[in-house]
């Protein structure tokens, strides 16, 4: 163990963290309920990497005491159905934008939370009905070595597991050591630590980040702050060590699923031991690989920067621009309110469009009546009733428009007025809505794919399943592509309008 600590403990001048760890949960490493009730003698690996049940239960109790979980055992569905009203209410009251100590606005964090809840809900299905141990959560250092594991018994990814792993780590390191933590939902963990005061002795020494391959699930402002490639101190660590660990122990999935409690833990410990021995021998290789990778990337980046210097863009200028960008793009109120207002306006516009269609229809019928030229097979009586029907629709639509308009803010009404008279603005709004939809679709697709990638064992069944799911996802792709093409067409139109000086 001690070599690890030395290797880990790189006190670096000018870096914001001394060492980097990653955290992740895995729900394929589970164990079904034992059939018999016979007593099994406890046994433990002498150098176990598991956090004891006591410690994890203690942390659970602490978390429960500070932040009681909702009565309905926080299943994904109830939680997500509860969250939206919360989000809108926060958007309406204008003073709630940042939570103290956090750089990302509250509304953005809420959205991140939503998207991960949705992803998690799919996993929760692997119920506690059949399984008594539902998975593992691991804490690894940036060299992909296991520091600690905790056995999970809950249906979903509960926060106290992550907290007890971090707590364990901080009990083992010097009191001045600063740690960068990469986690799928690092932003959410950060948020609850700040909000509820978890890890009181360590929080000021933690820099939270999100793991690179999971960043797509987060909102852009959140990525700005938490993405390890955008955040100071993380170097090129990707935070996917856990993912690699899961795949290296996936061959144990079937046998551990039917093993006894102690046996499973013992086997995992042994496997971790084996991986440690292997990785120890290959530390040199690891360093070389990382070094070469870094050197290449550095060269590339430097070339670009030097090229820009030739056209007068200095690094200092870029730095200041980046700071400006962060400030601008993490502004909460503007973003949120404009987004909501846009939706309202969008609704009004659609209503007005249908109103227009109704009017046209009515005019058509009335003209026919006046001219006495009845279209195929219709009598004047038929036409009169049709006109009446359309008239009813018109009245209804008008009411709805008035209703919606009344609800708009002053800005909203101004915006609407602008939009009604301006094709460019309308097109632009459509394009924005489309882009948001494309992003959502892409994100969902990635979530579905990772569900598959996640360490399912390669059996015949599995292969079939994979094929099935992949074809499902493929089937959705034309949809995305069509959306993109539609979006690009709008972009072209907008561009030509700008050229023709029709834009404001």
């Amino acid at each position: 163990m001690y070599v690890l600590i030395i290797f880990l403990y790189s006190l670096l001048n000018g870096c914001s963290v001394d060492s980097i760890v990653c955290l992740d949960a895995c729900f394929t490493q589970k164990r079904r309920k034992s059939q018999g009730n016979s007593w099994v003698p406890p046994r433990q690996h002498p150098e176990t990497v598991f956090v004891s049940v006591d410690e994890s239960e203690q942390m659970e109790a602490t978390v429960e005491a500070i932040r009681p979980s909702r009565p309905s055992k926080a299943s994904g569905k109830t939680a997500s159905s509860k969250a939206p009203p919360k989000a809108t209410s926060s958007a309406q009251s204008k003073d709630v934008d940042y939570e103290t100590g956090l750089k990302v606005p509250k509304s953005v964090l809420d959205e991140c939370h939503e998207s991960f809840l949705a992803a998690d809900a799919n996993r929760v299905k692997a119920s506690t009905l059949f399984f008594s141990d539902t998975g593992l959560m691991a804490l690894l250092c940036r060299h992909d070595r296991v520091l600690w594991l905790v056995n999970m018994t809950s249906a979903g990814e509960k926060q106290h597991y992550a907290l007890c792993l971090l707590d364990k780590l901080f009990k083992h390191i010097p009191e001045t050591m600063r740690i960068g933590v990469l986690y799928d939902i690092g932003c959410q963990l950060h948020r609850s630590c700040v909000k509820h005061g978890f890890l009181p002795n360590a929080l000021d020494r933690i820099v939270f980040g999100i793991s690179v391959f999971h960043a797509y699930g987060h909102q852009w402002p959140c990525q700005l702050i938490y993405h390890p490639r955008k955040c100071k101190g993380f170097g090129l660590t990707d935070g996917e060590g856990c993912e690699r660990f899961w795949s290296s122990i996936k061959l144990l999935i079937p046998s551990l699923r039917v093993s006894g409690y102690y046996n499973r833990i013992y086997t995992l410990d042994t496997q971790v031991k084996h991986l440690d021995t292997k990785s120890m021998l290959d530390l040199g290789l690891w360093l070389r690989r990382k070094w070469n990778n870094m050197a290449n990337k550095k060269l590339e980046a430097e070339e670009v920067l030097d090229g820009l210097l030739d056209v007068g863009i200095t690094r200092e200028y870029l730095k200041s621009q980046w700071i400006e960008q962060i400030q601008e793009q993490t502004k909460p109120l503007k973003r949120q309110s404009s987004k909501l207002a846009d939706k309202e306006i969008f609704d009004v516009l659609t209503l007005m469009k249908s109103l227009e269609i109704y009017e046209e229809e009515k005019n058509g019928y009335q003209k026919a009546l006046m001219d006495g030229v009845y279209p195929d097979g219709l009598t004047s009586v038929d036409l009169a009733t049709l006109v009446e029907d359309v008239q009813k629709n018109i009245i209804r639509a008008k009411k709805a428009v008035a209703n919606k308009k009344g609800k708009l803010s002053v800005d909203g009404r101004l915006n609407l007025a602008k939009l009604v008279g301006n094709e460019f603005l309308r097109k632009r709004m459509n394009a924005l809505a489309l882009k948001q939809r494309i992003r959502d679709r892409l994100r969902n697709r990635k979530f579905e794919l990772t569900n598959l990638e996640r360490a399912y064992r390669k059996t015949v069944n599995h292969l079939k399943l994979e094929k099935n799911a992949q074809s499902q996802i493929k089937r959705k792709e034309p949809g995305i592509q069509a959306l993109v093409r539609k979006y690009n067409k709008l972009c072209e139109e907008l561009k030509s309008m700008i050229k023709a000086c029709k834009a404001p």
Partner: protein
Amino acid sequence: MAPLSIDLDGLYQLDVDDDIWQDIGLSNEYDGQVTIPDWLKNEKVRIGIKSLLEFQRCEEEERRLLHERLAIQEWMQEEWFVLGAAFGEIGNLEEELIDHDTIYQLEERREYLLRLCVRWESMVRGIPCSMANGWGPTEEELMNFRQLEFTVQAIEEEGLYESDDEEEDLEGAEYFDNLEAAVLIDHYRL
């Protein structure tokens, strides 16, 4: 300002540096404003910021790697020194006090450290290091061990291709896999 069109190539990567995240030219934030900030308007600046951040991360990574490179050498030196001290202590003991089990353990440790040293040293040679004075073991010790390792490896590798059917007999828990598969299939059938 014109909006950016989306490139279909690489769209599904959803990389953090992709333009798909940016709503450039799509919002009304800058309507009527004369000055639009460079990070939004100027493509060169946008690329520059990405490269700058990448460069900064590389610098951090470089510092970290250099440090780690140094750390493994220091650790090796120290371990080797401690091992030497332990052997020295034993050498000073009288014959009947010597515990041969301990000596065996120390020999094992010695071999382990040499193996690490040989593997590490050859790998990290390309990474600059501020510490020049060796890893602990002498050049001769390393040389001898390298030769020994090479012979052992050659023997081991011959036997390596004989048994490789470990993965075949893992079908025991198929039932539960199927059960889970059924749930997942249901999920995708929607």
